[in-house]
């Protein structure tokens, strides 16, 4: 990754809302979905495609809502606990899901997430059903702030986290543990012969990806102010995979690039047409057919991984 263009890109992102305040919400959401897509991309490295990661996204947002209802009001605590809860859900689901490969992995993730979705939508007494749950504005280090101020802080904090977490994930992917993921994709049996426990490698990746999706979900929950079961619907998971592939699964910037593109495309498209899904679908097909390395492949000199 080249440092200077990346830093410039982050600075441009940080400056954009100063000129167009309406962009701040869109950009916050883009970064949030970028985290989730990064989670999906981590698993894609191992050739595992999860159509269920919206579950962790939603689990974390619901986590915030439940914790807030239980009386916890501190932003940092809420964020950390909700990400941990997503990671915990990931550890439980992952412990049996990582036994599966290819289409079965995709379908089982889908099944688990649909159980979660259906429960969120149906247990009206607990989750508020399809009305969802409010995500209140928390206090920051004990200081209660007004909504616009909080949204400002949330945006810049998300950007900061994007850089920090992005670097951490980059390190993880370049570490032997991360490299093992690509090895699973290429030749899993060889990895077992080398004495590397594939199960553990994948479980760690799964927990990390769930935590990343959870981080995105918490940020999205705060930004929107409400969490609804649709957060966990399978089409939302499909969009996350889409973003991961759109950006290019080669590196960390790809996921955020893809999310940014999709969110901007969304806000541009909805002003002129209702057929937003059609545009996304067509864009997806074009990108996959003609740019198998995603957008990141356009910018990166290093070969991004292909699907």
């Amino acid at each position: 990754m080249r440092t200077i263009p990346a830093a410039a890109a982050v600075l441009v992102l940080a400056a954009l809302p100063l000129f167009a305040p309406w962009l701040q919400f869109v950009l916050t959401l883009a970064v949030a979905k970028g985290f989730a897509a990064l989670g999906v991309a981590v698993l894609l490295r191992a050739g595992l495609i999860s159509i269920g990661h919206a579950m962790f996204f939603a689990a974390s947002a619901y986590g915030v809502a439940f914790l807030a209802r239980a009386g916890i009001n501190d932003f940092g605590v809420l964020l950390i606990l909700s990400v941990l809860s997503a990671a915990l859900v990931g550890a439980i689901a992952g412990s049996f899901l990582v036994r599966y490969r290819a289409i079965f992995f995709a379908m089982l993730n889908l099944a688990v997430s649909m159980v979660f979705y259906a429960l969120c939508a149906k247990l009206y007494g607990v989750t508020g059903g399809t009305d969802g749950m409010p995500v209140p504005i928390p206090a920051i280090f004990g200081v209660v702030v007004a909504e616009p101020v909080f949204k400002n802080i949330l945006f810049y904090l998300s950007l900061g986290l994007m850089v920090l977490v992005g670097l951490a994930v980059q390190r993880y992917l370049n570490s032997p543990l991360g490299q093992a993921l690509s090895a699973v994709h290429t030749n899993e049996i060889r990895l077992e012969y080398l004495g590397i426990p594939v199960w553990a490698v994948l479980l760690i990746a799964y927990i990390i990806s769930a935590a990343l999706a959870g981080l995105g979900g918490a940020i999205a929950g705060f930004a929107i102010g409400r969490v609804v079961p649709d957060f966990a619907f399978w089409t939302a998971s499909g969009h996350l995979v889409l973003v991961a592939v759109l950006g290019g699964i080669g590196g960390v910037p790809g996921a955020f690039l893809g999310a940014l593109f999709l969110e901007l495309l969304h806000s541009a498209a909805v002003t002129v047409t209702d057929a937003w899904n059609m545009i996304v679908g067509a864009a997806l097909i074009v990108v996959i057919m003609f740019m198998p390395q995603g957008f990141y492949g356009l910018f990166s000199r290093k070969e991004a991984s292909r699907l």
């Binding site: 495609i49 889409l242 592939v245 057929a275 679908g281 067509a282 057919m289």
Partner: protein
């Protein structure tokens, strides 16, 4: 006691029949083309919209109401004839031999496009046209009244199971399909026109999905979002039965149908959870589905 059991059983079977049409098409396409078509649910709902439009047209022109049965069948044929070759030739064909991620994403793209296409053409209101149900009337067994249309659904589903079995085991086309499923390269090498087989199999899958959608309209109506719901349900059924297994899809539809109706009866808030819970339970015990196996994939 029989007062509750008989209607419950009938409801389960009728609901299983509708799911079966969607799932068997998905599983057939998967076993021949080896592509899991995420857009399959959209074709189900397009079949439903086509049938509802045709039936409403017949009603508005005050034609013979029995024509609506013909309309149900022909709208499925119509959808299959248009969308089958179109989608297979243009996009699905391109994904052969590519990774699952690419196949899932391309078909997800098709799904997104088809969903919006339906919204643009048919709007967001739901369609409901129950002429076929009314024409068949009701029957009484053991003091319980039920719709004859439900019996028709169950009969048609059985017909599809038997028909597919006959097609695969006793016709030339069936043998060609089996050859392609067993060993695609070898089939090509001995001169089987695999392209034609793929188009036929995909169109047959589309036809079954569209037929399911068409048959569902008279009882449950059709509304936006049905495509996405059907899709995951068909996924669940195909996975429970074992991907690519026709009988497996039939048995799995029964399981899901019964699970759903029992859930509606016992714990109404859990009806949407039941199919996926059943899927999880089966796949945890038999990872490749009830009839599935790791290596050999038969149809």
């Amino acid at each position: 006691m029989s007062n509750t059991i008989i209607p419950l059983l009938l409801d389960s079977l009728a609901s299983a029949a509708l799911i079966f049409f969607a799932a068997v098409g998905l599983t057939l396409v998967f076993s021949v083309l080896r592509v899991l078509n995420v857009a399959h649910g959209s074709l189900y709902s397009i079949g439903g919209y086509a049938a509802a439009s045709a039936c409403l047209f017949i009603a508005s022109k005050q034609l013979n109401p029995y024509l609506s049965f013909v309309a149900l069948l022909f709208s499925a044929v119509f959808v299959a004839a248009i969308f089958g070759p179109l989608i297979e030739r243009s996009l699905i064909r391109w994904t052969y031999g590519k990774s699952e991620a690419v196949q899932i994403l391309i078909t997800f793209g098709i799904f997104l496009i088809l969903e919006d296409l339906q919204r643009m053409i048919f709007g967001v209101q739901s369609f409901y046209e129950d002429t076929p149900t009314r024409l068949l009337g009701t029957s009484k067994i053991g003091g319980v009244v039920y719709l004859n249309y439900q019996i028709l659904l169950i009969g048609l589903a059985l017909l599809v199971v038997i028909g597919l079995r006959l097609l695969i085991n006793h016709t030339r086309l069936g043998r060609l399909i089996t050859a392609v499923v067993t060993d695609r390269e070898m089939a090509q090498a001995i001169g089987i026109d695999t392209n034609r087989i793929f188009i036929l199999a995909f169109s047959l899958g589309v036809f079954l999905a569209a037929l399911g959608g068409a048959l569902a309209t008279p009882t449950s109506g059709i509304a936006p979002g049905l495509g996405a719901d059907t899709m995951v349900l068909a996924f669940a059924v195909a996975a429970i039965g074992g991907l690519g297994q026709i009988e497996g899809a039939a048995v799995a539809s029964l399981i899901v149908g019964v699970a759903r109706v029992l859930a509606i009866y016992l714990a109404p808030s859990l009806d949407a959870v039941a199919p996926y819970a059943a899927m999880l339970a089966v796949l945890l015990i038999r990872p490749y589905g009830l009839f599935g196996s790791v290596t050999a994939r038969r149809i």
